[in-house]
């Protein structure tokens, strides 16, 4: 029977290869992690997983890792950690037992049993998941009544919604709240220094009375300082230049346009 879990692995080839010490034909990408590889290898022993020869398994795995590294230099750290642990376990299983075992370490046999137990557990879960997957499923093998229009009896009056829905509803709103926060862009101002320099450069052209609005840069509506900022900074700069005596200004009445003109004699200076 073909193995539903590991289509990329040829068990017989792997078993023979492990025994012969030859290259294993194994694709690391076919596995989720070291435990899944170990399980595939364990199956080659064709015994109850609880009666597994852990020693043999360790050898098979080390051969696997060795080969995988030879073919592809990079190998996930998980695989190497498992290899190191198995090498350690193997050495402890092979060495004669000390008369007094170190207190802090479980006996090697127990470590081996733990590994066998984990493999048996994972295998049981894989078989269970396969049993669930291949069993009759709603909407695939069996169907309930399809007519959506007819009268429907709703089972029990319990309230719908689970904890996940509650969390989802909560986070959804907090996210909206976060994105709702008003973040005005700081207004950009036309620097006074720039206005002053520009006005000084313009002095030769201001022999006649010119409206302030015509002197200030137009600016662009898309980016940069606003028109108001240009006008305000230009006015401030013009007042400074008036104080210096380089410029004169007049306004006929309140709120009327302000006119600027270079002072006679200064225009060419």
């Amino acid at each position: 029977m073909s193995n539903p879990f590991q289509p990329s692995l040829d068990f017989d080839a792997a078993a023979t290869a492990a025994e012969d010490g030859e290259a294993l034909i194994i694709d690391v990408d076919g596995y989720e992690g070291p435990l899944h590889v170990l399980l595939a290898l364990a199956r080659t022993q064709k015994v109850d997983l609880l009666k597994l020869s852990v020693l043999k398994l360790a050898e098979q795995y080390l051969a696997f890792v060795h080969e995988a590294r030879r073919r592809r230099f990079s190998l996930a750290a998980d695989y190497l950690v498992m290899a190191a642990w198995l090498a350690y376990l193997k050495s402890r299983l092979l060495l004669p037992k000390p008369d007094r075992p170190k207190a802090e370490e479980p006996p090697a046999e127990e470590m081996a049993a733990r590994l066998a137990f984990r493999l048996a557990k994972l295998e049981a879960m894989r078989v269970a998941s396969e049993a669930l997957r291949t069993g009759p499923q709603l909407g695939r093998e069996v169907f309930v009544r399809g007519d959506p229009e007819a009268i429907r009896v709703i089972p029990s009056g319990r309230i719908e919604g689970d904890l996940y829905a509650l969390m989802d509803a909560y986070i959804g709103q907090r996210r909206k709240e976060a994105s709702r926060h008003y973040q005005p862009a700081a207004p950009q101002a036309y620097p006074l220094e720039d206005a002053r320099d520009r006005l000084r450069r313009l002095l030769p052209d201001l022999e006649r009375w010119t409206p302030l609005a015509g002197v200030a840069p137009l600016g662009s509506p898309a980016a940069g300082p606003s028109r108001a900022s240009y006008v305000a900074s230009t006015l401030s700069a013009s007042l400074e230049l008036i104080k210096e005596g380089a410029l004169e200004a007049r306004q006929l009445e309140a709120f009327a346009d302000i006119y600027l003109r270079a002072r006679k004699g200064e225009a060419r200076a």
Binding site: N3, F5, E32, G33, L35, H36, R43, K46, V47, D48, L49, L50, K51, L52, S53, V54, L55, L93, E109, E110, A112, A113, R114, A116, F117, R118, A120, K121, L122, E123, A124, M125, R126, V127, A128, S129, A131, L132, R133, G135, P136, Q137, L138, G139, R140, E141, V142, F143, V144, R145, G146, I151, R152, V153, I154, P155, S156, D162, L163, Y164
Partner: protein, 212 residues
């Protein structure tokens, strides 16, 4: 018509019109007082035995569903089921058999970190729910399956999970090495040992552990 037959008719109509499985309590609430629900259900089950539509017990309730062997007819009704990844399937099985179970325990069984998307998908599909918190340091959240899970896989209850009793008997559903777990002596467990014979192996070994 006998009372029981009338009750059977009524249950038939109710289950037919129901949007989901109805429990005995649901039925009792809707039927006249004193109706022999168990008897009528038995009658219905018998009546629908072997028909194109059968009575099934799922998620603690009853529902009508099409017969399994007629799946080939239902091409139009079949909505392309969202295929669970292998990792998600395995995770679902671990949650189903070990619930309540924490994320760390799921990862311990699989030997790999649960990648993003595995648990999420199961939660989103409503197959899995958060059940509560383990009373251990850190109070991790525990996961379990939902009624939708039972309904989807046509299970009457969690104890109907395939192989559950055998796994429990073998100690495979505990998180740690069970105390009576047979510790193989690696010095004896060489390649020359015999596989378990069919006669001394409980059914479990055949079904869930033995090499296929």
């Amino acid at each position: 018509m006998t009372d029981r037959m009338e009750t059977a008719r009524e249950i038939e109509a109710l289950l037919f019109a129901a949007a989901g499985p109805l429990t005995d309590a649901d039925l009792a609430k809707r039927l006249p007082e004193g109706a022999d629900i168990a008897g009528a259900l038995g009658e219905l089950a018998e009546r629908y035995q072997g028909r194109g539509v059968v009575l099934a017990q799922v998620a603690g309730g009853w529902r009508f569903q099409t017969a399994e062997d007629l799946a080939w007819l239902m091409t139009e009704e079949r909505d392309e089921p969202r295929r669970l990844s292998k990792a998600a399937q395995e995770t679902l099985a671990i949650i189903a058999y070990h619930q309540p179970v924490t994320r760390a325990e799921i990862e311990a069984v699989r030997g790999v970190q649960a990648s993003r998307g595995t648990l999420d998908v199961l939660l989103e599909l409503g197959l899995v729910r958060m059940r509560g918190r383990r009373r251990t340091p850190g109070r991790p959240v525990t996961y379990g399956t939902t009624d939708a899970f039972l309904e989807h896989y046509g299970l009457a209850s969690l104890s109907d999970l395939p192989g559950l009793a055998e796994m429990k008997a073998a100690g495979l559903l505990s998180m740690d090495l069970p105390p009576d777990f047979a510790v193989p002596d690696p010095n004896l467990a060489q390649a020359d040992e015999d596989p378990l014979e069919a006669t001394d192996a409980p059914e479990f070994h055949v079904d869930f552990l033995a090499e296929e």
